[in-house]
């Protein structure tokens, strides 16, 4: 299995084998972050641009560290100004960045479909770091990786995703990734925030957490955006928390080996009570750690660096230890794309 895609836009379009390849590659990179010198030469000489046109702390930091640990040169754009945040200019912005000979463009945008639109318009690789309510593929991969790490498998598990499914790009990427890898997915939340059409995408739907929770091996709680109450999707946070917030009392009815995940940032006391967020079943911080390895894998594969040494996924080259080297003398990804 060799990665042949220019871009990573979503998990919907990926095959099971492609997802496995990304997870295996992440596995190979995870160990790098445990070394004293957390750097490999895999993307030396390549340039990665982070173009975050919507606020983000965690995902941007994760991509930044991933690029740096691969020895890529890094360029960072933030679109706080409204002009750049508009759809009109996103393709122009991307083309300008590409004109600086960037190899990989990592894009976060508030509009569903923005990454696909940009990917069609540029020759460089595009990694979708979240587009509107559509997909957030690297977060989906982080969740898959973390589940596999903690549970030893993905196939056959019951995964419960709780919260604002309607607006969640994480829920969509998780749903595609999990179902492709053989897990059974239940989506749970207030009926106003769980589109019935999602059943057509292979998920089960539940409006009652207490009924869905006992079967779950994994629960992924989603962040509830503050605006949902103003938009009249829910009457109050109080009622949301009572019905869909995970607390110790609700977890008593769950399997003891249940793991609790959250893509962050957590609204403590809303979707997760503090004792659950910080409790023994929580793997939220493992997700954050794994995020770097997963994003290293995504950048490495779309940059095409692996094509210089095919068949190697490749502990020997891509993760070559630099601890003993002062100079990076033999970058494995030095050939052209």
């Amino acid at each position: 299995m060799i990665w042949r895609r220019k871009d990573l836009l979503g998990l919907e379009e990926l095959s099971k084998d492609e997802i496995s390849l990304l997870l295996d590659q992440a596995e190979a990179f995870k160990e790098v972050s445990l070394r004293p010198i957390k750097k490999v030469p895999a993307l030396r000489g390549r340039t990665v641009a982070l173009c975050f046109l919507e606020p983000s702390t965690r995902t941007r930091a994760s991509f930044e560290l991933a690029a740096k640990r691969l020895s890529a040169d890094l360029l960072s754009f933030q679109g706080s100004s409204s002009s750049i945040a508009k759809g009109e200019s996103v393709l122009d912005t991307a083309r300008n960045i590409e004109a600086m000979r960037v190899d990989v463009l990592v894009l976060r945008h508030s509009t569903s479909g923005a990454a696909a639109q940009v990917a069609r318009g540029v020759k460089c690789s595009v990694v979708n770091a979240g587009d509107g309510s559509h997909e957030h593929p690297t977060q989906g991969l982080v969740d898959l990786y973390t589940i596999k790490e903690k549970k030893g498998r993905i196939e056959g598990l019951n995964v419960l995703i709780v919260g604002d499914i309607l607006h969640s790009r994480v829920a969509r990427s998780d749903l595609w990734g999990l179902t492709k890898m053989g897990a059974k997915v239940t989506l749970c939340g207030p009926p106003t925030l769980v589109p019935p059409a999602m059943e057509g995408l292979g998920a089960k739907i539940s409006y009652r957490l207490e009924e869905a929770l006992p079967q779950a091996d994994v629960v992924i709680a989603l962040r509830l955006q503050l605006e949902r109450q103003q938009e009249k999707y829910i009457p109050s946070f109080r009622e949301y928390t009572r019905a869909y917030g995970l607390d110790r009392a609700k977890l008593e009815r769950a399997k003891p080996e249940l793991i609790v995940m959250h893509p962050g940032p957590v609204n403590r006391g809303v979707e997760l009570s503090p004792e659950v967020a910080d409790g023994p079943q929580s793997v939220i911080l493992d997700q954050v750690t794994n995020g770097i390895a997963v994003r290293m894998a995504a950048l490495y594969l779309v940059a095409g660096a692996h094509q210089d040494s095919p068949e190697v996924i490749s502990r020997s080259e891509a993760t070559r230890d630099l601890t003993a080297e002062n100079e990076i003398s033999h970058p494995p990804g030095a050939g052209s794309k």
Binding site: V90, T111, S133, H134, H167, L201
Partner: protein
């Protein structure tokens, strides 16, 4: 300048007279003067239609010419030329221009522009309410006297049920229909595509079917109560068709139209976030598409209308969420429907021509869409077998926002006479047409 033309040897399909046979047609003085086999030219210019279909010129009940106010998208001239290329000899223009068509002088302006363009028949609609604001009725009597063919706030629904009731009542003094853009705004919200599987997949805000059907039901009940003439624009839902069917059975004075894109495309077309497939109402499901086809076939839906809605490339390129709603339709309508519906045996040719000619004429009560002796000589000649690929570079419209780019179509307009003048011959505009 009119002349004498003999259209020879074509298959004349005129549903207004129940005619479908190979015969000749003589046009003189701007009117149809004779139909019959083996007519002698006697000095008339001969147009051979052998192997082709001769139809009454088409009529489009729903066109946005963007003039006055947005001439960068379309003008009366470019829109008329687009119409001719699509076989339309009568187009009805919506009132959502800037200024809005809510006074007689805007209608006079449009008539003057059309006289300058000098190609086809233009029937302007007046607005239902001043400035399309839904607050005060327009002077419908004066608008009618100036030439309004009907009343519509299209682009905007008449939100208040009370105002719609008044409009349906008051318009009875004119005998003209109120054309309703059925959209309950609190249900459509910020939606950009049909609320269904595709919206859920793509993470896009949806427009539920009920945004249309709630309003269809309301307007049907109000038309029934007031006796007003109601015409429903761009039906898009199976339930909407069913509501109209039941209302017609009860004797409600209602007519309805459907667009070529809602007959040919469904929501899956949006999978690539391409804004060329973004219009309002949105593309719905396969089930809706089939119900619309059935409604057209059984006469529940009276007319095919394009909802020709030109937008500039820059606006449409903005991305699916930001791009404006609307697609152009005049230049592809009949070819798309021949390809998708007639050649595939889904509806008969006669039904399609009926929905493009005498049925829309009847909606507005105008003497068009017929080849009856004495009627204005609006004639469209079609080559049913001609194959062509849709390329926007060849469009006469100023805008290229068609969902059918790259489609291979079978069936093409070859010749058009409007008011007895040959303005389009063998796929080219004549001198009289420029």
């Amino acid at each position: 300048m009119t002349n004498c033309v003999l259209i020879q040897g074509g298959r004349v399909v005129d549903p207004s007279q129940g005619l479908d046979e190979v015969t000749d047609l003589l046009v003189d003085g701007g009117k149809i003067t004779k139909i019959g086999k083996n007519l002698k030219p006697n000095g008339a210019q001969v147009l051979s239609a052998k192997g082709k279909v001769v139809s009454p010129g088409f009529m489009d009940l729903h066109v946005h010419l963007r003039t006055p106010g947005q001439e960068h998208k379309e003008t009366v001239l470019t829109g008329s030329r687009a119409a001719v290329r699509g076989g339309f000899t009568t187009i009805c223009t919506m009132a959502n221009t800037d200024p809005v068509v809510d006074s007689a002088n805007v209608i006079e302006f449009l008539k003057a522009e059309n006289a300058k363009a000098g190609l086809i028949n233009l029937l302007p609609y007046g607005a239902v309410t001043m400035g399309l604001k839904g607050e005060d009725l327009t002077e419908m009597g004066e608008l009618r006297a100036a030439g309004a063919a009907g009343f519509s706030d299209d682009g905007m629904p008449v939100e208040s049920a009370g105002m719609m009731r008044r409009a349906l009542e008051y318009s009875r003094m004119t005998g003209l229909p109120v054309i309703s853009h059925c959209e309950e705004k609190t249900l459509s919200g910020h939606g950009v595509v049909h609320e269904g599987l595709t919206a859920a997949r793509l993470g896009l805000a949806g427009i539920p079917s009920e945004a249309e059907t709630v309003m269809v039901a309301r307007d049907l009940l109000l038309a029934e109560a007031t006796g007003g003439r109601l015409h429903l624009a761009h039906l898009s839902t199976a339930c909407g068709v069913e509501l109209v069917r039941a209302a017609k059975k009860r004797g409600v004075r209602v007519t309805a139209e459907v667009t070529p894109h809602h007959l040919a495309l469904s929501e899956e077309a949006l999978s690539t976030y391409d804004s060329r497939f973004k219009m309002n109402p949105p593309l719905r499901t396969q089930k809706d598409l089939e119900a619309l086809r059935e409604g057209l076939k059984d006469g529940t839906i009276d007319a095919v209308a394009t909802d020709h809605a030109p937008h500039s490339a820059a606006e449409k390129e903005a991305g699916l969420a930001q791009a404006p709603f609307g697609v152009v339709g005049l230049e592809t309508a009949v070819s798309v429907l021949l390809t998708e519906l007639v050649h595939r045996g889904i509806i008969p040719l006669g039904t399609l021509i009926e929905a493009l000619t005498c049925r829309p004429a009847k909606v507005l009560g105008v003497n068009r869409g017929t080849l009856a002796v004495g009627a204005p000589a609006d004639v469209t000649v079609l080559d049913l077998e001609a194959e062509w690929a849709v390329e926007t570079a060849g469009f006469a419209s100023k805008s290229a926002n068609t969902p059918f780019t790259g489609w291979r179509l079978k069936g093409k307009v070859t010749d058009v006479l409007a008011g007895g003048r040959e303005i389009y011959r063998s796929g080219q505009f004549t001198n009289g047409g420029t």
